[in-house]
Symmetry: D3
Subunit: 305 residues, 6 copies
């Protein structure tokens, strides 16, 4: 599909869809769709990600059609569109999961969704949908946190527990975590995750051994889902987020990582963008660019075949 061209209609004019692409739920021939999940009741600290999709759309107004790094025109090659948002149910995380899974299943069976969250809890219903459509998938998880805790205040579903649930529910094949650095509640948190076959790279390792991590990631066999929590990036580059951890990746580093992915990707999400804590749409712009790079690697890979 065709973006509105900024040389004809100024970027600050007209309705904001993702990258100024058409808004449609007709996904025939669409190979990639922007998919919004405005939700933040899974957050354990600051809220705000319910405005993530809306703000990422605003932050995407500068994206131009040709990506010189990937040498592709992702929107045209993928016939990409903006699908709109899931109608979430504030206050009711489990009901919201039902709606997300339903909509995502419908979308993922027709195209490859590029999701803008929402807090990270949405990954669970997304992975449930992926599982129903594709069977078990690999997970590439970029985050400063393990998200592998058992529960918060006795509740199984939060943005810090989805990965353990996904593992327990048998939705996943291999899991690789990249960028981990947050303090945790105890040594056993790491051991639990190791026992369940999850491999992680800390932020330090991610910075010093980037190439080898990329090789590991790209060696994954089979369908793979990419979950990117914006707090994997340092809060200087992504201040608009709810549980920031200092000492993270730069925006250059995260862009570089995502650009080098070469995966059989069945979906990608950028979550935890919290506009009320952002500055001048900085974080939303980064999220928009990361989805753009994700689409670009897909376009490149498709082109190659």
């Amino acid at each position: 599909m065709r973006q509105i061209d900024a040389r004809e209609s100024p970027r600050f004019a007209q309705i904001s869809t993702f990258a100024r692409l058409p808004l449609t739920q007709d996904l025939s021939d669409v190979k990639a769709a922007f998919f919004g999940i405005p939700f933040d009741d899974g957050t354990t600290y600051r809220t705000g990600p319910r405005f993530g999709p809306s703000s990422i759309r605003q932050g995407s107004r500068l994206l131009r059609k040709y990506n010189p790094f990937a040498d592709v025109e992702p929107f045209e090659q993928l016939n990409a569109c903006d699908w709109g948002d899931v109608n979430t149910v504030p206050g009711y995380i489990e009901d919201t999961f039902t709606v997300i899974k339903r909509d995502m299943k419908s979308v993922a069976s027709k195209t490859i969704p590029f999701t803008a969250g929402g807090d990270h809890s949405i990954a669970l219903p997304i992975l449930r949908a992926m599982n129903e459509v594709h069977g078990k998938v690999n997970l590439v998880h970029l985050d400063s946190h393990y998200d592998f805790w058992d529960n918060y205040w006795g509740k199984k579903y939060t943005h810090g527990t989805w990965l353990r649930r996904a593992r327990e529910e048998g939705l996943l094949n291999e899991v690789i975590q990249v960028g981990i650095r947050a303090s945790i509640y105890g040594k056993e948190d790491i051991e639990d995750s190791k026992k369940l076959g999850i491999i992680y790279y800390t932020t330090n390792t991610t910075k010093s051994e980037t190439d080898s991590i990329i090789r590991h990631v790209n060696s994954l066999k089979g369908k793979t889902y990419v979950s990117l929590d914006i707090d994997v990036v340092d809060p200087a580059f992504a201040p608009g987020t709810g549980t920031p951890e200092v000492g993270g990746l730069s925006s250059f580093e995260i862009m570089d990582l995502v650009r080098k992915f070469d995966l059989n990707v069945v979906g990608m999400e950028v979550v935890e963008v919290s506009p009320p804590y952002d500055l001048s749409e900085l974080t939303s712009m980064l999220a928009a660019n990361l989805l753009y790079e994700g689409m670009s690697t897909l376009a490149k890979r498709m082109e190659r075949k």
Copy 2:
């Protein structure tokens, strides 16, 4: 047309059109259309109003369908829509005027436009279009400034000179100014405007003699255009604007004024909303509510007939 209902789809979800109304340029049967003019090259101090339409749409997400003050459902009664934005030409104020006039003429010949600016210079091409469609119109001008200067830096077209131009070009019948209070360049500024038959009420008078001003305004015979510069309001209520003047109306007072208008209105504009200087969409929300009240008075008047 039908708004997206906030009880079904949360206000923070989906694309932001004005009041979550359908986006369309098909104006058959449409009695009122939101019309965006993102432009700010006419500003003499702070810029920003090019983001006015986009931000007013965001600020309109809380508007509900029934207005208890007017006892109308303006959107349904007027079959209202969001027309989209004019594609302005940054850097070229006169070329932009050409485009605005063209688009406005097309719209105003079919429906009643409720325009979101843009800086106040856009009033000139709008009035030119009104003149071509309706002949001379009256002007109700709410503002803290006279906007009647002859020129700035030798140029005839700015947000401070449009009214003198409109007068000179013979576009207007009666002109009533409400809320004037800014310091000026000389006593002759007022005298010039008086000579040309412009009647003004200061902010002080507007506050102390509201009812009599309303009566004066509502006594206007014939087609009338309403131009509301958001800086008529005190900057505490509308910080997001470019040439603020302290000591203005409260948002309660401006809402009260607009609610009491009973005019043969051919169009209304809210201009000079400058989102970069705003706080938490305060000014954009006020602008959205003023357009809503404008539509409501129109719906009420139509109903009465």
Copy 3:
């Protein structure tokens, strides 16, 4: 109990409890306690009130011990303290209601709680607790919204439906609403509320007939609960809130109203303070002052007896 004195320890020093009062859950001899409910999953638009109690404590650091308007020293006369916060359960509104009701019942049976929300949904479990401790109570409800909708997205519990629930559950005697002005979903919204015996005053009436409203409120017989949604105030005075409605009361007007209350009050709440949207703690300061005035009217009334 004794505040930390700002003439001995600067206001910017030491831990922030409400008004720098002692933090304790021992309520023997305590006649008024600050009670925090950090929660925002009942919000239908912007979140943020989970930081309300924390921010209102910061905003209370300027409160001095003697209130010249009421001619009382509320903290000393009431032996006031800061009780701390309820441990809410993000993502689970109904579980949170259980915890709030339990804690509130325990507190309300010993002292008079002055609650800092939290979004307005918390009023329901509070009123349930009040009902168990005191039986049916009257409600004085200051708000820009009716909060009387039946449901949002099919759910019974949100910050817009608590009042209908409280009515249905038979928790309330007389209900007086003050400051109402928001647009609504239909005419029937008002009629429903009237049928259930709820009396409301619009913002316009509140401004023009203040004294008569005060008389009406003060004529209430029996135990009365005061629920103040900060959005009854104009967003210029209270920008930090989630569903702002322009054209509201000034901070002078709301302070004046609350100062004139003379009620057999069993509790008071200030809700919907959303710090991420605030400026320089403006809204939190106003909320802190309103709780201070509430305590002062209580102290004055106690003194009189």
Copy 4:
């Protein structure tokens, strides 16, 4: 002297002096001079007023030469200039007082200073200078606070104690306070001030009996100094201040008061503007306008003679 004309050089261009007036310390023939005192070590809560003069200059860029309310051109009639700033001594309040008094004495012996603070503690050395130049003066003090406390943390000099010191040092004749409303440390605070012959009007009285207060103020015989603490205004209109008190005057009301002053004024100050807490120069603009109105009343009075 002559302002830079905004119709020739845009307001956003060139160096910011007060109202774009010449910067000079040659005061021969100058009847009014802007005088900056960047200092904030007298603050007991938030700092920031050291950036007051700089920010008020920025906020003055919209002032035009003719004031229609007063029907004067204050800058030309008074041959006004910007004197520059006192070189204060951070960390050393008493040394700073020495420097302020020295510079103020030099200025006040030649012209009428319109001072931009700085925190309110600067009023003490200013009044000492006034006393040396003019003998005892009357004081019109607009503020939300009494500023009459004896000491903070055992220290005699803060922004809350200057008035008691000035009284004790015998610098003042009559003192009228307008706009008082803050909570205080005890009933004796008021009684002390009454004993010392200070008359005060609360914010409530100021709003309801404006005309009679104006008459009282204008009845003052002899030389009079006007001290305006920006926190007399409600923080919605002046968020950029250090010890805000909700429920204050609007900017319309304070402008109205100052415009009606008709005094034998020997100087005026606007203090407690704290730019780090401001929004879009709102508070600085108000301060600039208040100094402009002060100069205008002076020009009008001079004209009359």
Copy 5:
């Protein structure tokens, strides 16, 4: 010339000229002058750079006289001053170009201008002036964008087309671009630029091959102009800009680059600083420091001769 010394007059006191240098248009013996061009009608997305010069002056208040990296005292060695600002013509980009060229020609014929923009469109009239004074010059262009598009909305002059115009007008010798990374409208954009002999280094190359790029730049023969668009830096370091591109240089990296330049420089500009989008003058401070480093390399080079 001599800066005001921060050890004598605090940095927050007195009028803000660049680096607190004297303001003068007498350029005899002046070897470097700060030159402000407040203009933003060439912007295609966010406006704001009209406040660039004013804000960069504020951000320059921390610059001290001795630069330990370069081991020079640039202001004294160059006898530097602040020339003031060009009086631009908002709304009329081509008229503004005329004024800029006229003023720049006058300045560049006497001294070396260090320009604070303004949006990037100003580079065109500057290069026209350079051409008239110096003949063809080389261009070192640091930017995230090519700025080589043919037109926007049919117009030849914007901040995205100046370089193509300068090439077409034959103003330039060699052109080296550093830091390029933005997405573009098509592959042909790059090819066009290559055809016209423009050499570019992407952000990736700039980071990995810094030394070789520096050598290339420093090998330029003849007079050279340096144009630095602040968006070459990552928006985390320079949030105050209009068309930010994530994944850029850090402020350490850009400072390092500029410090290593050893060029026969005839002028330098830092453009696209947009204060309304900035945080705590972060971007303005960086711009001020870059101009300071530019002056320092000039002083060092002069010293060496």
Copy 6:
């Protein structure tokens, strides 16, 4: 002592002490105590650090008990607490020094203080207290500035002169400065510092020779105090500070440095956090994390013995 567990009581609930640790001045068995010094009268540019301790406590709410980098549980191993704040004396830097020294001496004789400033001038009374408790100590000083100037405006005590004073008073053994980069008043500034045996590493060296600097620091014999000025970090990562210098360390780099320290530490401070200039508590979070890492290295070292 035991933190409040975020899995039981949400992070946004309850009173904010450092890392949600108990507030107590009973230091028996306490091996590390958070110690707040809210003070900013030593600042020479922007103020604000008087809110440092309060904001760093807010920013510490995300710290979890186990530090995977150090493989320790610092709070439990050190039995850490929050001591509260010193009651400073605004306006009187020398009186404040007396109070700081008294309180610090009392604390340092019982435990190891981890201080949150406050501006950097507080280091002088802290070092005086250290000297009385421990005799001469080494100093590891991380900063962008030398802080070795003789005086500002004739005064010996500011945040830019404390190190020279400490040297002159004979409080220190070896001094190593890390991260220096600011422009200075003259070449002699460096020479003076060298003469007095102070060794410094610039930011450039710190980045390129990290390991060798760490070895140098860790080779210090005897008791050592660590003073970390947050402006050693680039303002992108720490915008909330008063005299920022661009081109600094990233938060990753400063965390990495502090994590590698292996010192006989007698105290650590993080100073110059200025919340009014911060964004979303970014700087406060970084400061909280740095204190956490400091405690962790202490816990690790203690464990080893």
